[in-house]
Structure formats: C-alpha cells, structure tokens
C-alpha cells in the first residue's frame, strides 16, 4: 500500500461517522420526523399496460384524516427535453410520467395518485378509495419480444433514434447506437479461429437495504425543505425545481445518511409528490416506500441480450471483435446502453471492433443506474466468449488476456486513448497470487474474468474552515455511502500536514455549499477529493498570507510544511514556525476568519480495471453452486483508506456473484412481478460466501494529486463471467443465460446427461 510515501493516506483510520453508525444514532431517510407531519402513500397500477380512462379521488378526499390528494394533474406538463440524471439521462416529459402516470400506466407498480393523511392507516385506506378506470392493453415484458414487429407499442411517438432513414412507424426500439474501430469484416478475414455466442441476462435490483424515504415541508411563503435519502441532494433539488416549477433557491435539500444506493438513489420518485402533498395540505409530509414498492417501481438494472463474435490468431491475438447488445430500458427510453457498448472491449487492444446497441422499452419499471451501469451485461458476453476462445486455443485465460491487454496508448473503440492504466499490472498480480498459483481443490473448477469502468469526474465544490482553536472543518456535498468522509478527511489531513483527528468532514445541504454532482460513477474520492484538496490549498494560501502579516514579510517568503508556516529561507529572517492554532488565535488581527474554497469540473478520472478469480463446484443433483475461494484484483490508483477500498471491491464482487447465481426479476403471464420481496428475490447472504480476497493494485492516476482512481464500480463487472466460466469448466456446459440458479443448472445438467435407461 501507499504507506511510507504519505503520513495519512493509506492508513486505516476510524471513520468520522463510525460511532454514530454503530449505536443507532445516525439518522437515515426514514428516521426524520417533523411535528404535525402527515404520512403519504401512493396508489400504484395493478396492470402492466393500460389506458387510464379516469381517476376519481372524491371518496378518498372525503375520508376523515385525509389532508391532500395528488394526481398527475398536480404536476405541470414537461417538455420533450433530455437532461442528465446521475450517470444516466432522462427525458423530462418521461420522468414526470414515471413519477405520476398520465395517459397510460406502463408497468405494474406505476404510481397514479398519492394521498397525505394524519396516520399511515388512514393514508392506506384512502389509497384504496381512489377509483381508477382502466382499459387494459396487451403488454410486453421481454426485450426480444418487444423488438419484434407487431409487439404492443408503449409510446405512439417513439421513433427509433440513430437509424437512417428514420423509421416512419413507432416501435419499442428507442435508439440504435454503434461504435467502430478499424474494419471488423476485414479483420475477421485474418482470423484463424472464430468463436461466437449469444447470451441473456435478467433485470436485477440494486438491493439497497434502506427503502426510498423523504420528508417534505413546504411553507406558506413558497420555501421548501426536504430531507431525503439520496445519492445526490443537488439532483433532488434540481428535479423538484423543474418538475414542480419552483425556483431552485427556494428549495433546500438535506441528505440523510444513506442506506445504500448503488446508483438506484440517483432518481427521484417520492420527492416531487411529497412536496406537492405538503404544498396542498400545508403540513410536512413523510413518505417511505415499502420493500415491495422498491422492487416494483424503483431501480432496477436492465436485463438484456448480448451476442459476441471474436476472431483470433492461433497464438491468441484477437484481430476482430463484434458485440451486439439490446438492453431493457423499462417503461421509458434510457437504459445504460452507451456504457454497455463502450466498455464491452475496453479491456483489450483489438484493431478491428464493431459494437451495435439497442435501447428497448417494455412494460417494466424504468431502469436506473446500478454500479458500472450496463458494463456487467456486455462483460458477461465478452468475457464468457473469451473463455470459450481460451479453451479452444488451450491457453491460460490470464495469458490470453495479457496477450491482448489494453495499455497506455491503446485507442478505445469509443474514442479516447488510454493514459497510464493498470490492466497489465492487475492481470500480473493475479497470476502471481497465491490463489492462482494453487490449483483448485479436487472437485472444484476455476473461472477468470476481467472488467472495466471509466470512472467519472464532473462537478464538485468544497470548503475548508479553520476554527478558532486551529482545528479544521472540511465541507463538501456528496452523501457518504461507504466511507467517503474518511477518505476526504485523510486527503485534507495529508495536504495540511495535521493530525487526521483535527479534520472534521461535513456533508452540507444544498444551501450550504456549492453544487455537487451525485455520489456515483466512482467519482467522490476522485472529484470531490480533488475539490477538498484544492480548498485546503486555498486555505493554506491564506494561512501563508496570515503568517506573512504576522512576520511583516511577503507571502511568497512563507512556506507551509508539516502543518506549520515557516520562512521560505534564512534570508527571510529568523521566525519561529506558526502552527494552525497560533494562526487561528490571531486571525482576528490578521484579516478575519481563515477559510478556503474550491469548485471544479474534474477531468481525468483514471479508468479502473479488475480481474476476478473464483473456484467453485456445482452440485450435480441440486444445481447449487458452492464457492470455495474468490479473489478480486483491481487497480485502484492509490488506496486512500485501504479498508474501504477493499470493502468496495468485496461488496461489488458479491453483488456480481448474486447477479450471476440467483438474482432476477420474474414476471407472470399478466406482466406482474412475482418476486417483489427479499425472500423470493434471492440476494447473497453470509452463508453463501467465502471470504473475498481483495487484491489491491496501485497504479496512480496521473490526473489526481494523490493518484486516486474511482473504485466502486469496477468490481461488479467481472463476477458474472468469472462465475459462468468456472461453471462451464466445472460441468462442461457453457451456460449462456443468467442467472445460473439451481433450477436452471440442474435442467442443463439433466439435458446433457445421457438418460440412465436402466434406472
């Protein structure tokens, strides 16, 4: 690790919010209450696809205790305009319809109306009193079905984008996109071996344990306060402003502690409704989703189909690669298709690449970002096909990847040329690892796969304040979803040369710090970290000015070192160093409070690469997979707080294992979700897993003062194929459809086993 080079960076300090979070004191979304608050509840569609003929709320309004009812009529119509939403994009016209349905309901669970009442029981009763007249329409759930001519069309206005000439008829294909490098067809002609496979994945939910929750208080003078569990309170403010027509400065959003998000809490669902209910009732309104609502109407990540074709030389050199992806967008356009396409071959230096993608709507909840959005799906296809190639060539899977690995200078199919990256180092770290050098236990098989994520920079603001006693507050605006307070404080302490315990990181509300883009895309430690470092540098500049004033010298004659101001050289004069607390004590005489500020649009987020290795066995009778050993290696740039870096890698890997083995949205014939609960939507539990060895590789990002790369997204990318490749080597059957659940595996094993006639 980085210890040695730095004093604080690379150490495993206690997180600043640790005590709060182990005692139950930390306040999460549902833990906020206000005197006189009402409880809001949502009426949701029981149908997958239907025209709303009428909504009659009169009986609900008459119920004693009901203080307000809202329907889509209470939200102004929105223009057909695309705006960024976290790592994804949304159309304002669509998002207002996702929050409250207008002409049609497009998925089971689609909100139609909401009520606020004095108690939860009354609110629930009122919801049942709302009468909706539907004209039920045929629905379509599956992507392949939705793409067929003659499929029920969700949006009459939806003309496929990216096709020339533009189609004249509406369809469910919202967009076609492609990116190419070289000439795929020509490249394929040079190939000595060609492999091609088709794959599917199912929709999966982010699975954060804390349901969406919000508390809204709209005052009579037009000011609005919101407390919300979100990955981006500035984004909540922006959407509430746009969707309700309230000036941004009138809205103050305070983020609660957030109980997981993984991309799924970059979307607004409840907030505009709660604000509108509060405006109409004149009372604060609290809304919390049930787990069932979370499954039916928030998230999920898309499922999709992937076809991959690889052409290679006998020595393993890949000369041509093609990937075709179709992703579920859910009820409205906008799946993470771009990242799915762009990441598909990003790990490899291949001269000829062709990638085509389709964004497809169907009667499912609108998808949301989920950790490296889109990337695990294309990687499932690409990394599985690479394994087929490795087996056919008789090549070690790491060697095959090393042979084709992207390096500094490799041009990607989507445009950029890589600067310093650590894919080769990560592959080599795995090759040298104790795990890889030890053969799997008898009966177990090994799978390997790699993964890539760009990592994100974007807008951040930060401020640093010196308190009267010389301790420091560092203020930023990104909810801490997994230990970022500690990472930011470590960088501030390092920069300032003071003890970590003297730096207090604070997450400010939308009115107390400048704009910050969402906590997502693995950007906080990188981009907000950069803003924090710059704000500390700004503060140091001021500290030097104050020392200069104290000594009566020029500010340029002062340096800041190890937490004290010193004369730059002996020619400046003989002065005792001034500490932070000394400078703070005299601040009133030298120019007032000492603060620093920074704002930036961070560029140069260093891409991250991961390589995972898993040893597992398949029980041939039950189809159950038992994982014996798992190693996840990743280039993290610099591990600011190694424990939280490892934690990101371990957590991401396990989410990927869940995606590979069990998790899926299961629909019945009526287009209703059959497994909207943690019992039937099977996420990994402690007894499913071994320890996850996080192998941290550090190839510093040249575009960050401490070499930070984002960490959180990459680890969910490799596990799907790592598990699938191990399963293929275990049972000699190449499974192409996720999840590799016990019923699916045992069916595949049975189908491949010659009938034992005698028995």
């Amino acid at each position: 690790m980085s210890t040695g080079k730095y004093k604080w960076i690379g150490t495993r300090v206690d997180r600043p919010d640790g005590a709060d979070k182990v005692t139950g004191r930390a306040r999460f979304g549902a833990d906020f209450n206000m005197p006189g608050q009402l409880i809001g509840r949502v009426l949701r569609s029981p149908h997958a696809h239907a025209i709303i003929k009428s909504v009659d709320t009169s009986a609900a309004e008459k119920l004693p205790g009901v203080k307000a009812v809202v329907t889509a009529k209470d939200l102004p119509e929105q223009p057909n305009v695309i705006v960024p939403a976290g790592e994804m994009q949304v159309n304002l016209r669509d998002i207002t319809r996702n929050i409250l349905a207008r002409e049609k309901v497009l998925f089971e669970g689609h909100p139609i109306a909401a009520v606020a009442a004095t108690t939860d029981a009354i609110a629930k009763q009122a919801v049942e009193l709302i009468k909706v007249e539907y004209e039920v329409l045929p629905h379509v759930i599956d992507v392949t079905e939705a793409m067929k001519p003659g499929a029920p069309v969700l949006h009459d206005h939806l003309i496929t984008e990216g096709v020339k000439p533009a189609p004249t008829k509406a369809s469910n294909i919202a967009k076609r996109m492609d990116n190419t490098k070289g000439d795929f067809e020509a490249g394929l002609k040079q190939a000595e071996i060609v492999v091609e496979r088709e794959y599917t994945t199912q929709a999966v939910h982010q699975g954060y344990i804390e349901p969406h929750a919000t508390l809204a208080s709209a005052a009579e003078d037009g000011q609005v306060q919101l407390w919300s569990t979100t990955q981006g309170h500035f984004q909540v403010r922006g959407f509430v402003s746009r969707l309700l027509g309230i000036e941004t400065s009138q809205i103050r959003v305070t983020p609660s502690e957030i109980g997981g998000g993984f991309g799924g809490k970059t979307v607004v669902y409840l907030e505009p409704i709660a604000v509108r209910l509060s405006q109409k009732s004149g009372k604060p309104v609290k809304m919390v989703m049930t787990r069932e609502e979370v499954f039916r109407a928030s998230g999920p990540a898309p499922g999709g189909t992937v076809r991959v074709k690889l052409g290679a030389k006998k020595d393993g050199t890949i000369v041509a690669a093609e990937c075709e992806i179709a992703l579920q967008a859910g009820a409205f356009p906008g799946s993470p298709l771009g990242p799915a396409c762009w990441t598909s071959f990003a790990c490899y230096d291949i001269p000829n690449i062709k990638v085509v993608g389709f964004d497809v709507v169907s009667n499912r909840p609108k998808v949301a970002a989920y950790r490296a959005p889109g990337a695990p799906i294309s990687a499932w296809g690409v990394e599985s096909t690479l394994d087929v190639l490795a087996l056919e060539l008789g090549m070690d899977p790491i060697d095959l990847r090393l042979k084709n690995a992207a390096k500094k200078g490799t041009k990607t199919s989507y445009g950029p040329t890589f600067d310093t990256i650590g894919f080769v180092e990560t592959l080599e770290a795995v090759k040298k690892s104790a795990h890889y050098k030890t053969p799997p236990k008898p009966g177990y098989a090994r799978g390997v796969a790699a993964g890539f994520w760009f990592n994100v920079g974007a807008d951040s603001s930060a401020a640093s304040h010196v308190a009267e006693d010389g301790t420091v507050t560092v203020i930023s605006g990104n909810p801490d979803i997994g230990g970022s307070r500690a990472s930011l404080a470590l960088m501030a302490a390092e920069e300032l040369g003071v003890d970590y315990s003297k730096v207090r990181p604070i997450i400010a509300d939308t009115s107390s710090i400048g704009f910050n883009f969402v906590t997502g895309g693995s950007r906080v430690t990188f981009a907000t970290g950069l803003a924090v470092v710059n704000s500390v540098r700004d503060m140091i500049r001021e500290l030097k000015v104050r020392a200069a004033k104290t000594w009566g010298v020029d500010p340029d004659a002062v340096i800041w070192e190890d937490g004290v101001a010193k004369p730059a050289g002996s020619n400046v004069g003989e002065f005792e160093p001034l500490t932070l607390s000394q400078l703070a004590a005299t601040a009133g005489k030298t120019g007032g409070p000492i603060n620093g500020h920074a704002q930036l649009n961070a560029q140069g987020a260093g891409p991250g690469f991961g390589v995972h290795v898993v040893d597992l066995k398949v029980d041939r009778d039950t189809g159950c997979v038992h994982i014996d050993r798992y190693t996840a290696a990743q280039d993290v740039g610099t591990a600011i707080h190694p424990s939280y870096v490892e934690g990101q890698i371990q957590g991401g890997a396990v989410q990927g294992i869940g995606w590979a083995l069990n998790e899926e949205y299961i629909y019945n014939a009526k287009g209703r979700l059959d497994n909207a609960g943690f019992l039937d939507y099977r996420m990994p539990v402690a007894s499913d897993l071994p320890m996850i060895d996080a192998l941290v590789v550090e190839v510093p990002n040249p575009h960050h003062p401490y070499g930070v790369r984002g960490v959180g997204e990459v680890p969910i990318v490799p596990p799907l194929a790592a598990v699938g490749n191990a399963v293929a080597r275990s049972i000699n059957i190449r499974m192409t459809d996720l999840p590799l659940s016990p019923p699916r595996l045992s069916a595949a094993i049975d189908a491949a086993t010659p009938k034992m006639a005698a028995e």
């Binding site: 005590a19 979070k21 182990v22 930390a26 344990i209 349901p211 989410q655 990994p684 402690a686 320890m691």
Partner: protein, 160 residues
C-alpha cells in the same frame, strides 16, 4: 380501536407504551418511542435490519406484535453501548470497516452480540449461518465476519 397499554423493559429501562393491537414492535420502537436505531428494510422478516432480542432471544421486530412485549425484556442497538463505552463489537466494526452505508449495522450488531453470548468460540461457518438472516448489500460480509470472529477471540483471551 382502543389502544393497549403495555408495560415492558427496553434496554434495562422500565417502559410503558400505548399501541394498537396489530402494531408491530418495530413501529412502536421507531414511531412511538423514538428508538430509530432499529431499521426497516423489508417489514417481512427477510432482512434482519430490525433485529432485537426478546428475553435474550433474537427476533425480527417487524414480525413481532407490540403487545407481545408485555412483561418481557427487550434489547435494541441503542442498548449495546454502556454509558460512553462502546461495546467491543461496536469498536471492532468501526476499526475493521465492517460497515459501509451502515443501515444493516444495528441489526447485525444485535445478532452478533446474541451469538457471542451463546457461543464465544464460533467457527467461521457458524458465524456465517448465524448472520445469514441479516442482509448486507454493501460489504460482501467479509469484514463483518472477520470483526465478529476477532471479537470472539478477544473475549476468549480476556476470559483466560
């Protein structure tokens, strides 16, 4: 419907509350008594975020009816630290980074404490199965399991 008057003990404090007969213990803790440390992740007994102990037995507060608290002893996450002293499990969870978002942490701590009170020498498999009812989506469980095992080792060391 008439409210029920319940007399119980919560984290050692004699406590009385009024509740509806069908109200869950979790709702009473969170909404009536302001003990919001116990979390609701599912409301159906599947996530363990609401874990409490009832007369020493680990239960899901979301599945328990509040009137069942009558005459019993309840322990929640708020009762784990003693005064200004964190419990060894709490300290170790922070030290080992056994929490990321922290929403599962109250339930995991209550469950882990209940395990160690029964068995201070659990195997890794025993810890994994004991905590199988506590979903954590952030950590992949690795650091949670290590923290619990380490506290158990410390406890045995101290007992020696």
């Amino acid at each position: 419907m008439a409210k029920m008057h319940i007399t119980t003990t919560i984290n050692g404090e004699p406590t009385e509350f009024l509740c509806d007969p069908q109200q869950s213990m979790l709702d009473v803790l969170r909404d009536n008594l302001g003990l919001t440390g116990s979390k609701e992740g599912c409301g159906s007994g599947d996530c363990g975020a609401c874990s409490i102990t009832l007369d020493g037995r680990l239960v899901c507060a979301c599945l328990m009816l509040a009137p069942e608290a009558e005459g019993k002893k309840i322990e929640t996450v708020e009762g784990i630290a003693k005064g200004d002293q964190l419990h060894p499990l709490q300290k170790k969870f922070v030290e080992f980074a056994a929490l990321q978002c922290g929403i599962c942490t109250p339930g995991v701590l209550v469950a882990a404490k209940a395990l160690l009170e029964k068995n201070n020498n659990p195997t890794e498999t025993e810890v994994r199965f004991w905590l199988a009812g506590n979903l954590c989506r952030c950590t992949g469980y690795d650091k949670i399991i290590r923290a619990v095992m380490d506290v158990a080792a410390d406890m045995r060391g101290a007992a020696r």
